[in-house]
């Protein structure tokens, strides 16, 4: 069991004295990110819902990026991936990232294609 914990987050910007302190620090950060997400979801700033980046609303990009940030801190600090060997970390994280990036790319492009078939083609609705 690795008892040694790496006690800094944000690349050493925020250092902690003990592991317990780090846990609370990460909680504060995660709560903050969730609060920002919910606030944005309720307010829905006009500037962010009307502007598009790479075919998706800017607001949705913000949500997805904040989610990935949250996932990073849950996995790295709560699940202690930060303290594991980099080989284990890569075996788990890289496998996941490559497969999911591939799957979502294929399915989203395909979904968009079918949308266009319904819109421009002769099929209106099947299921």
């Amino acid at each position: 069991m690795a008892h040694a914990h790496k006690l800094e987050i944000f690349r050493g910007l925020w250092k902690f004295k003990s592991n317990t302190q780090k846990i609370w620090g990460v909680l504060v950060f995660l709560t903050l990110v969730t609060a920002v997400e919910v606030a944005l979801g309720i307010i829905k700033p006009h500037a962010l819902t009307t502007s598009h980046v790479l075919g998706m609303k800017a607001l949705n990009w913000i949500f997805i990026i904040l989610t990935l940030v949250k996932a990073y801190y849950i996995a790295w600090d709560f699940m202690h991936l930060r303290d594991e060997k980099s080989s284990l970390r890569r075996a788990v994280v890289w496998t996941f990232l490559f497969l999911v990036a591939y799957l979502s790319f294929i399915l989203l492009v395909e979904g968009n294609y079918i949308y266009n078939v319904f819109k421009d083609g002769f099929v209106t609705w099947n299921f």
Partner: protein, 325 residues
């Protein structure tokens, strides 16, 4: 003969022996690989959701308008309750990681307390999820489904707010009893009938000139298109049935796929939370009985901890892709 025999006496063979590839014990590494495969399953669900949503991007329900309820409060509170649920799950993740930390320092009583709090958090979350399901299934305003399977909702033209069927549907002297196979066709069954018939909704609609139809289509501003009175009447000619609430086949909130994915994704996740609570309970009793004190380490707490954090991790994504985006 010596050369063919594995050297060293293997202790604790059940736990994978003393080999520690990648610096992790057998149990911990297998938990990681299980989490990896489970994460891919959830990704499959979410990617399928994305597929269906992109396919029906112009008619997909707006989650803010579907999940607007908070227990014990009336009114329109989009997202607040889901945000609360997210916070509960993150909080129980924190108590879990504190339990793991206390385990490393061999503090039995702290582990017991933190495990207990984690279980409570998990139970609150599962309960909230059940409530969320019940509210979703029961429905809100009611709607009408057309021959083509589209959903028509109703809006009060004066205020711009949603109108419930109960607000305007007429009461007609017509009687339609539920078909039961004991006094009808024995191989044919029917679920519960909606409160109003299509005719009652139509007559009520004609009598109230301030009610108009809201379609599933989303306009440029990201809002559902509301029809004029004339267009509404034309659309309502195609109405075939009244829909109240949602199930796997009919969904008053819009696309039926939305309801299907809601049930599958949050149901699969809720099942994970439930099993996580069961695992935590087992480990909680083991800790309380002193099993890990005797064993000399609290690694089992760490392993169920990994699973519990994973459940939290998945929720973070479900929250984003189902409720926010």
């Amino acid at each position: 003969m010596d050369s063919t025999v594995t050297t060293g006496v293997e202790e604790s063979v059940w736990g994978g022996g003393d080999n520690r590839p990648l610096g992790a014990s057998y149990g911990k590494m297998m938990m990681w690989f299980f989490i990896l495969s489970d994460a891919l399953t959830f990704s499959g669900f979410l990617a399928a959701y994305g597929f269906s949503r992109f396919k029906f991007i112009e008619t997909w329900p707006i989650a803010d308008e579907v999940f607007t309820h908070v227990p014990f409060f009336h009114g329109n509170y989009p997202m607040y309750y889901v945000a609360f649920m997210t916070f509960v799950l993150i909080m129980s993740s924190v108590t879990m990681v504190l339990a793991v930390d206390a385990g490393h320092r061999m503090k039995k009583n702290s582990v017991i307390w933190y495990m207990f709090l984690t279980i409570i958090g998990g139970a609150i979350f599962v309960g909230s999820q059940a409530w969320e399901w019940a509210t979703f299934i029961q429905g809100d305003y009611g709607a009408v489904e057309t021959k083509g399977g589209r959903i028509l909702q109703f809006v009060n033209a004066d205020t711009g707010e949603r109108a419930a069927l109960a607000d305007f549907a007429a009461t007609l002297p017509e009687e339609r009893t539920i078909h039961e196979n004991k006094n009808g066709i024995w191989f044919y069954s029917e679920g519960s009938l909606p409160t109003y018939s299509v005719n009652e909704v139509l007559e009520g609609f004609k009598a109230h000139s301030n009610i108009v139809v809201r379609t599933e289509t989303i306009n440029e501003e990201g809002e559902k298109v509301v029809l004029s009175r004339q267009e509404s009447l034309a659309k309502l000619k195609n109405a075939t049935q009244v829909v109240e609430g949602a199930n796997l086949i009919h969904n008053e909130y819009g696309s039926r796929l939305f309801a299907d994915f809601f049930f599958f994704i949050t149901g699969f996740h809720g099942f994970h939370v439930f099993s996580g609570v069961v695992f935590n309970l087992i480990i909680f009793f083991n800790v309380a009985l002193g099993t890990y004190e005797k064993r000399g380490h609290y690694e089992m707490v760490e392993k169920v901890g990994l699973y519990w954090h994973f459940v939290d991790l998945v929720w973070v994504f479900v929250f984003t892709f189902f409720y926010l985006v």
